[in-house]
Symmetry: C2
Subunit: 345 residues, 2 copies
Amino acid sequence: MFEPTIKDIAKICGVGVSTVSRAINDHPDINSETKEKIMSAIREYGYVPNDSARNLKRVDAKAIAVLVKGIANPFFTGMITVIEQECKKRHYSMELSHIEADEDEVDVAQKVVKEKRLRGIIFLGGLFSHSEEKLKKLTVPFVFSTAGSIPENISRKLYSSISVDDRRESARMVEYLIRSGHTRIAILVAEAQEESVGRLRLDGYCDALKAHGIAVDPKLICQTRDDRGHFSMENGYLSTQKLLGRGEAFTALYAVSDTLAIGAMRALYETGLRVPQDVSLAGYDGIDMTDYIVPSLTTIRQPVEEMAKDTTRLLFDIIAKRTKHQHITYEAKLLVRESTIKIPE
Amino acid sequence: MFEPTIKDIAKICGVGVSTVSRAINDHPDINSETKEKIMSAIREYGYVPNDSARNLKRVDAKAIAVLVKGIANPFFTGMITVIEQECKKRHYSMELSHIEADEDEVDVAQKVVKEKRLRGIIFLGGLFSHSEEKLKKLTVPFVFSTAGSIPENISRKLYSSISVDDRRESARMVEYLIRSGHTRIAILVAEAQEESVGRLRLDGYCDALKAHGIAVDPKLICQTRDDRGHFSMENGYLSTQKLLGRGEAFTALYAVSDTLAIGAMRALYETGLRVPQDVSLAGYDGIDMTDYIVPSLTTIRQPVEEMAKDTTRLLFDIIAKRTKHQHITYEAKLLVRESTIKIPE
DNA sequence: TTGTACGCGTTATCAT
DNA sequence: ATGATAACGCGTACAA
């Protein structure tokens, strides 16, 4: 199988390589006839430019990368879809890279930047406890989107961030439950390392309880197992079983992600507990699914569409030097649905 | 910001570029002291090899690509996760590429092959009505995994395929419903173009009905809207509303994907129809979620794990020329769960 | 408008 | 064990 290069095409058409180059790159300085001739030869021989060689020369690869930690998380797939559309609008290509749980996202980012000569990076999810020194090595602008909080000691001029205030929104959910008459509120939390979203949401839970004079009962805090798939439904299911096994009474269960909540729903059901009559169940994220399951899930909806659009817009603005780095916090929305009820007085 | 190249590192260490190259590629012919010296300089200056330049030279980039049509589909994310693990085991890297609904996967594949010098391709989902001529241009082996059927006129020696017999499995589900006493069985089907999985599953539905002497009633066939997100829950929801609006009576609803079924579940619920007491509901795919929702969903489970593993193994075997192209069909499993019941005599 | 020649950063070949 | 050098395929001055 013959793989034509630009030289071959040039030879075939009896022109120089630069002419072929001009043809494929829509360069203005070219005769439309020669261009047509070249393009048809390209089609005929199935020539596809080698992007590696191109990127080696080019300075301005119109591309960005999206680095996702946990592609199985439906919350991220929603964001990715929107980001992809936004990139397309701007005629940029998007490189999607999945980061393993144990990989260092900044290392991966560096590699990808070098490799693809791209212009910017979006980090989706993950935990960013990286040293300032390391972040400085990233030569293209980057935006942390829906990640946990970034340590204070890192200059905020180095990066942009798009997020909701996980701690506050989480507190809001718990406050809603308290106002609905719940005092024994259990929480299902994953990945409670420093600065992670799990930790922030747990903090918010504690904030709300304390603000209402309710003691935080460690027996009602259920940490999911520490292996892979932190936010999986399976994890939610198993952890809830564990929680129920403790025999502690509670009237509401708050899972720090919708997927965990759905797993919890089944565990409750199997124990004979009805949602919401016996236990009110709440999630966090606002993924599509929560609106369709029965009962629909009370949750905190992050404005995915808006955040994804702004993430992209912000990155492109920074690339074009139209703006400096920014830190935008969004209001999430408490969606009260069928899975939670007021406790009768 | 200074971006060191291999030359810079060589100069800094007072060695030749080839020595540095040997160091980073774990070449045997190198003194361990010099190697250590070089590696520490690399760390100090934050040098990362440019993959474009590497791929330009190399013949054997240890990488494959996975081309997915519809990354938002949870069924695919499950497969991707497994494939990724399998690649890692073999020390291969995996390039994940999302293909837009309107993009031509073979064109994308060609581009990616050229660009990354990779050794093989896995196509996940999508519809493969490509000309043989076009497929021949792909210079690396490829495997179609869980795609629709491929037209007969394309030589099966050109490619491998991994799939379940969608038509037969679909018929099996419908047969189960018939045996449960249902005769008015509605179907929710998306993307019913030639050879697509939607079409195959619809064919299976018709097969089963006919085999049992039940006439196919067009009024019970509900095609989802023809725009984006064929298999989305929203589509399932809206289409079911449309179906219900027709006023046709049915005792079972079979959705050709689990996601559609979940959307349907809500539409039924809102109309006051209980699952399974009033309407039995069935899906297809066997995604995790179906096991956790209440009621859990009766579905056809494709052996995701096994299929993903075999897809990867097969591709690597073909790359290593240990085998020729193969076409493997898997048995899917009918999972009878809570969403379907026998109709009382 | 078109062609020639150089260099991008790396690996592989050949010397040493 | 190490170093010099020729490719890899392309874009782009610069010359024509």
